[in-house]
Each structure stands twice: as structure tokens, then as C-alpha cells.
Symmetry: C3
Subunit: 342 residues, 3 copies
């Protein structure tokens, strides 16, 4: 894919780091790479190495990303936080007489000598949403690295999931403008991060989809993410409805997207979170609900709790896109790597 150097993004921390033109190019390239995958890779990354820094575990993201690098002919160096890493100082000008033996600026500069990209999954503190939503750790890596930094899911954003989601939506619906997406909260004993929903919300609105978000009271998405979403909605003319009831959101939807996200009000307070969870409605997406949409397809970023968040019948039925979505992680990440590293 010919792409002017000037049009290449430096890092990918959030989807907003890509212009609409870059996003379109990336999705087109994803589709081409997906077709080409049947007959082997072309070696865009031969001799290139990506450094993986996972401060939290990962199954899908890590495997699909490593496979993407490998299929393009590149190599991966996987550094695990526990055994390979120590605490890093982030404060500028600090007198480093504490526990951290190394400054993040030095770790970032040194690793930039060895690898061609840094793919990082930071570990949020989990105690304060006001702090964690700043994504300070991955932003510090991006500020100091001399190679592209790719966000493998931070507290606020999961851009790689959103790229795969966009590719899947395009494959299922064609032109996205005017189509209806229902983003539906589901219940779980161990609720997950809202990051994939934040990224998806902006992505869908930028492509002109009408978005309806359904969740019980107390499960509002991040305030500033919602403000930005409303601005995107005003800009593109796409509708955005929030805090809907389950049934209302799914009505006439083309795609229903399930996710069990945690309450940000209770962030860092497990007791409150457990209490709220006990009072939460048991929203489970089943075939009856899905049938209220317009031949609605079902999407989910996984892991998914079967028969709690959504029934086997939906997941294994003809309207499920969940495996296609998972496979598209691979193709869209290959496209992204080609853009960032060629």
C-alpha cells in the first residue's frame, strides 16, 4: 500500500490518533490482507521486530498480535512484566532514591534502539478512575519512545478491538452511515473494562452509525468520552441515545453489541461494586430480544460468559459475528502494522 510518510500516525493510543482518511485506508488494507491470507504473507515485516510489554495478561490480543507480526514475516520479543520488568519512575526530574531503579524515559529510549515498535498493555491502578482514565503510563511510553507505541488496551481505550469491530461491521453491513448499532450492557460476576465500548462508540459515530447505548442506572460510560461522542454525533448528524432500556435499544437495531462493563462510580470500591451488582438487572441477550432488531447480528469482544450475558443459541446461531470479529483482530492488526512500520 503506497502511503505518504507524512500520513503515517506516530503512535496508536486511541482511535482518534487516526484521521478518517487513515482509517479508511486501514480498513481497505485489512480487507486486502484478509483475502491474501489464504495464499500466504508477503513479508512486509521481514527483519523487523516488535516488542511486547504486557503488564496484564492477555489471550486474544497477544496471540492475534504476535500472529499478525509473524504472518508478515516479522518477529516478536515478549517481555513479561513480572519476570523481566521492574518498577519505572515516571516523574520528570525526580531524585531517584526510591524503589524504581530506572526512569521510563530511559527504558523507552533504550528499547527503541532494539525494536521497531512497542506494543504495550499497561496495568491501571484500579483504585481511582479519575487517575486511571488519564492513561498516564502508556502516554509516558509514547512520549519517550522513538518508535511507534501501540495501545494493547489501556484503562480508557482499546483501539485494536475497535479496528476489528469496524472491519466486521463493514463486512456485515456494507456502508455504515445511517445503520443502527445497539451497545448493550450485560451482567457478570466479574465485570470488565469499558475501554472496548469507549473506542467502539467513537468509531461507529465517526462512520455515521446511529448508536443506542443501554445500561442500568449507575453504569454510565466515562463522562468525557460521552461528551466527545456527543460532539462527534453533532458533527456527523448520527444519532446518539444513552441510558436506554434493553428492549428500547435493540428495537430496529442492525447490530447488537454486548459487553459487561463495570460501574465507574464504584471504581476502586469492591464493596460498593458488589452491592450494586447484586441489585443489577439480569440482562441476558437471547433470540427473542435479538428478533426485535432488523435481522440484527450479534457482536461481542469476548471473553463472553455464555448463558449469562448471552445465550448459546445466539452465540452459536446464524446471526453471531463473534468469531468473525475475533478473526478480524488478526487482519486489521496486520494492516495497522503495515501502516506504522513500512
Amino acid at each position: 500500500m503506497p502511503m505518504a510518510a507524512s500520513s503515517r500516525p506516530q503512535h496508536l493510543i486511541r482511535l482518534g490518533d487516526l484521521t478518517r482518511g487513515q482509517l479508511d485506508d486501514l480498513l481497505d488494507l485489512s480487507a486486502r490482507l484478509k483475502r491474501r491470507a489464504k495464499k500466504g504473507g508477503a513479508g512486509e515485516l521481514v527483519g523487523r521486530t516488535a516488542g511486547l510489554l504486557f503488564f496484564r495478561g492477555s489471550l486474544r490480543t497477544r496471540t492475534s498480535f504476535e500472529a499478525a507480526v509473524n504472518q508478515l514475516g516479522g518477529q516478536v520479543i515478549h517481555l513479561t512484566a513480572a519476570s523481566d520488568f521492574w518498577e519505572l519512575e515516571e516523574r520528570e526530574g525526580a531524585v531517584m532514591d526510591g524503589r524504581a531503579p530506572e526512569h521510563i524515559k530511559d527504558a523507552a529510549a533504550v528499547l527503541s534502539c532494539y525494536v521497531d515498535a512497542l506494543a504495550i498493555r499497561p496495568k491501571p491502578s484500579g483504585s481511582s478512575w479519575a487517575v486511571d482514565r488519564q492513561d498516564g503510563e502508556i502516554r509516558a511510553w509514547a512520549a519517550h519512545a522513538r518508535v511507534p507505541v501501540i495501545n494493547m488496551e489501556s484503562a480508557l481505550w482499546h483501539p485494536l478491538q475497535a479496528l476489528a469491530d469496524l472491519l466486521t461491521l463493514r463486512e456485515a453491513l456494507g456502508e455504515l452511515g445511517g445503520r443502527r448499532l445497539a451497545v448493550v450492557w450485560t451482567r457478570s460476576p466479574a465485570p470488565a473494562s469499558p475501554a472496548p465500548v469507549h473506542s467502539l462508540l467513537h468509531a461507529a459515530l465517526r462512520f455515521g452509525m446511529n448508536v443506542a447505548v443501554a445500561h442500568p442506572p449507575g453504569y454510565e460510560l466515562d463522562n468525557e468520552v460521552m461528551s466527545e461522542a456527543r460532539a462527534l454525533s453533532a458533527e456527523s448528524g448520527a444519532e446518539l441515545a444513552d441510558a436506554l432500556d434493553l428492549t428500547a435499544a435493540i428495537e430496529d437495531a442492525d447490530v447488537v453489541y454486548g459487553r459487561s462493563w463495570q460501574s465507574l462510580e464504584d471504581y476502586g470500591n469492591p464493596t460498593l461494586a458488589a452491592t450494586r451488582r447484586a441489585r443489577s438487572p439480569d440482562w441476558t441477550i437471547d433470540e427473542r430480544l435479538l428478533s426485535r432488531g432488523r435481522q440484527a447480528r450479534f457482536m461481542h469482544a469476548m471473553p463472553v460468559r455464555r448463558n449469562l450475558e448471552v445465550t448459546d443459541a445466539v452465540l452459536d446461531g446464524p446471526h453471531s459475528l463473534v468469531y468473525q470479529q475475533a478473526e478480524n483482530r488478526l487482519h486489521s492488526q496486520k494492516a495497522l502494522l503495515s501502516m506504522l512500520l513500512r
Copy 2:
């Protein structure tokens, strides 16, 4: 190696998944790849990726398997259970409101999108032999994966070790029919799994070897494995003798194969196991014993406790095949990968 698609096995959970014809092809290919290794690989697996899932640690199996993939030009993604994996639900139709956040059917389907084979070492519960011998975990992976699943040693079987053993036996003895194999229990403070012996037993009988198994009372091999072994013996006319004394088994043997396997009667009961171990005879294979065979060679799957299971003089002497056996792990796994993935 030209091989009709129809003759390719789908998975390798036990050696019985391979027909005799496939086994012969595989051993011939192993020998060719071993000769070729001196002058570099031919790249059969360029652009292919194998996913490694080790729920228990491994030295030989993991290193030889990764090296096999690499030497054929492929890549490996190594997922460690502790940091990358969570508990997986295995029950069909379960309402997943417990600890497991993901169903094994989803994990298997998703990983199948990213890699070309899954090499799995499950971790048996260790509490019930009746349960563990079912190999439920690796069979569930095989049932749900869309790519070949390779058993890196389960509770019941270790087919990769048996392939290397067969290759080594052929190199040492030529035609195997009618030759005599003594499988000898040895003592250890931390006895190991009988899986390699189970796989070897069937392999040797299928190739017409006469097999004599020696062990103290209480160290009987798995009942059903022995039943199948007797059926194989009846079919091929090869002799099978069980529960022999050390000296009787080695008499006239062409090959003595040592292994310290645990008592399945005491499985899951460390107190009983320790008591039995204290009463067990101290069978150590030394040169005097080995000399009772017919210029007998010595084999062992390792790790081996020197001067407890077998003396330094035997291990480091001219009749030892243990390093050749270990090296053959590499060549036979390359042949297997070629068969499963080309």
C-alpha cells in the same frame, strides 16, 4: 513428502490416532529430515505459526518442539498458563456465573483463527486417576479447535516421546519385529507419569516387538492401556509379559528402557504413595544387569536420576541411547509437523 490430504491425521492425542502406514511414513520422513538437518531446513513451515499452551512446565518437550518449528521456518507463540490464561469452562450449556470467564469452545475457536496448530500440555488434577485418565482437557481442545491439536503429554499418553523412541529403536535395531524390549520400573523420590511408557508399549507391540514389563507389585500400568496392549499383542503375534522381576525382564533383551513411574493405586494419595515408596525395592540399572541382555542398549525418556535409577557407567557408556533419543525428539517432531501442517 507427497501425502494425500485424506491420509493426514487431524489431531495427535495418542499414537493410535496414526495408522500403521502413517507411522511408517512419519518415521521415514524423520530419518530424511535428520540427514537433511546437517545442511539446513527447507522452509516447509514458512509463514506458519504454532501456538504452545503449557499448563505445566517443560524443558525437553517445549525446547525440541519450538526448535522443530523454527528449523522448518515457522514461528511459535508461547502462551504460559499462569500469566496468559484464565480458567476455562468445559461443560456444554453451562450458565457461566462462576469463576471461569471463558468457555473452552470459544478459546479454541478463537485461537484457531490465529495459529496453524495448537500444541498443548494439560495439567491433570492429580487427585483421581479414573478422572485424569480420560484426558478430558486435551480432548475438549481437540473437539473445539479448527486446527490440529498436538498432545505435549497428557495424563495417559505421550505420543511425541513414543515417536522419538520408535525412531531410535529403528536406528539401533533395524527391523523391529521379533526384537525384545524390556520396560523396567526404577525407583525415585519423586516418581513420574506412566504416560511415556503407555505410548511406548503400544508403539513397540504395533511394530511386532516382544515386550517384557518389570515392576514391583502395586506399580501396574493403566488397566485399559494393558487390555489394548494385549489385544495388539494377539493381533501381531508379539509377546507381552507383565509384572516381571527386574532380572527376568532384562534376560535376552535387545533394549532396556528405564522409567520411574508412580503407582496408580496411590494416585492422589501422597501418604499411601510415600509408604509404598519406602517399601519399594531399590531397582537400579547397572552394567552387570544390562549385560544379561543381548548386547542390550539402554533408553530413558529423561529426566533421569543418575546413580539412583541407573548408574553413570550405563548412561555414559557405549550402550546408552539416551542422547540419541533426546535428539530424535527434534527430528520426529519436524516430520509430524510436516505431516499435519503442509
Copy 3:
């Protein structure tokens, strides 16, 4: 690089394993590979695999080494001590009825069947310097392996760091004979190993540099390393001054090399070490000190505690070579791998 097989070292445990001619060749090749890196690798290691055994964590050494192998077209198998390894018996002839299930001679022989080199970072006991300074573990690997063993930093030596340091010194100063190197102890709440300083000291003296070592009383380097250093100094005519004061060592230096090394007198005694540390002077290298040299450059093997060991102004200023040093790990290791494995 044409190099007679006879001139190839077998292992690299310490820099003394390389002749001066080999060292010169290696540095020349490093420089050529560094220039070539701009336009991609040449595949010297295609089809070759290096086994990495880290019994302690590592950031720079591991990443730069893996990247070096990858950039030359080779592959790495990374075995982590915790999950993949068990205790190894090292005593010759032992009756192995204890905890160790495998002898190091067997582990080394078996891994030698699978990989083309073993890169090992042992974990010293930390309790006795007299014992740890023998580097018994890595020497046992070297004694039993049939492939080259590369020391990734033992208790006594860090030859890979010294190779990068030599390359950096040559780049900065040209001909090294007669130039002045100040090796300066710095303070840290968690002092590090003297191994990089031991290796550097010999390296610099072999290339004819005059070396001044500055440290407070009680921080003497290893006795035998210093004896050898004095012999090298006598041989080459290069000056060697020890136990200098901070200012005296830096006077007229061309290069100032900082390192916070632990007191070997207190080795294995954390209470004594903490007491000594509390009484130690707060030597921090700043611009004023550095200006006493001859346009002196600053070097440090990292990790570095900013504003404690050395100020931000020095580290981020025009005389700092620390990132160049870190980058040179990559190029000199590529040269070493080419020498050992081609």
C-alpha cells in the same frame, strides 16, 4: 567476515576468552553491522536458534540479544527459570536421591541437540562472594554443552556489556591507547553487581587505556580481578590507579564511567551493607565534576538512578554516551553471534 574455524572461541564466559585479534575483528565487524543495520540484515543466522536461559530477570540484555538474533534472521527460544526449569544437580557422580531431578550435564547435552547456542544468565546465591565469584553454574553449562555458551552476566563478569563499551569508546575516542578512563562508584539504595566494571576494567587495560578507579573505602573490586588488572597494566604499560577520590579520578579523564556497585566485604550480609551504605558519601556526577575532565564523555551501563548517581543535565547533555552504549549492545552482539555461529 571470513574467519578460520580454529580462531573461533568456543564459549564466551569472560572477555579473556577472546584473543586481542579476535576482539579487534569483533569490533570491526560490529561497526560494519551497525552501518549495514540501516539497510536490513543479511541473514547470517537463518535457520539457527539460540536458547535463552535467564535465571534472573533482564530488560536490556535480553531484548538486545533477542533483537540481535532476529535481525540476523535467527530465532530465539526463551526458557524462563521459574516456569520451565527445575533444580539441576551439579556434583559429578552424585547419587541423585535429593530434590534435583536432572543433572546439569544431561540438561546441557540435551539442549545442545536443539539449539545452536545457549545464552545464560545464572542466579548467584548472594550469600558468599568466595563461592559466587567462581561462576560455577555458567562454567558447568560451558563444560557440558556442545554448543557455544554465552554469559549474559554472571557474578564476576559481564562480557557483553564490555563489548558494547569498547565499541562506544572506539567510536568516541578513536585509538584508545593512552586515553584516560575514570571508573567512578556512585551511591544507590539498591547497589548492583560489580560484574560490568570487572569486564570493562580488563577490556580498557588490554586496549592500552589508563584507568583510574574511584570509590570510597570498603568498595574495593574483586581481589583477583584487580591482580589480573595489574598484570595487564604491567604488560601493556597502561596506568592503573585504584581507590582514588572522586575528583582525582575525573581529573583529565577522557571518559567518566559511573556505576553503583555493592561492597564485596558485606556480600551476603544485608545489615552490614545497609550500615555501610548509610555512611557512604553521596557521590553524584554532575556537570561541574565532569568539566574537570578533558571534554569528558559520560558512560553508564544502566539502569541508572537519575539525580542520585548522575544528574539529568549530564545524562541528557551533549557529553552523554549512554544511549549510544545501549544501542551498541545490539551491534556488538550481532558481531559476536556471527563469530560464534557462522
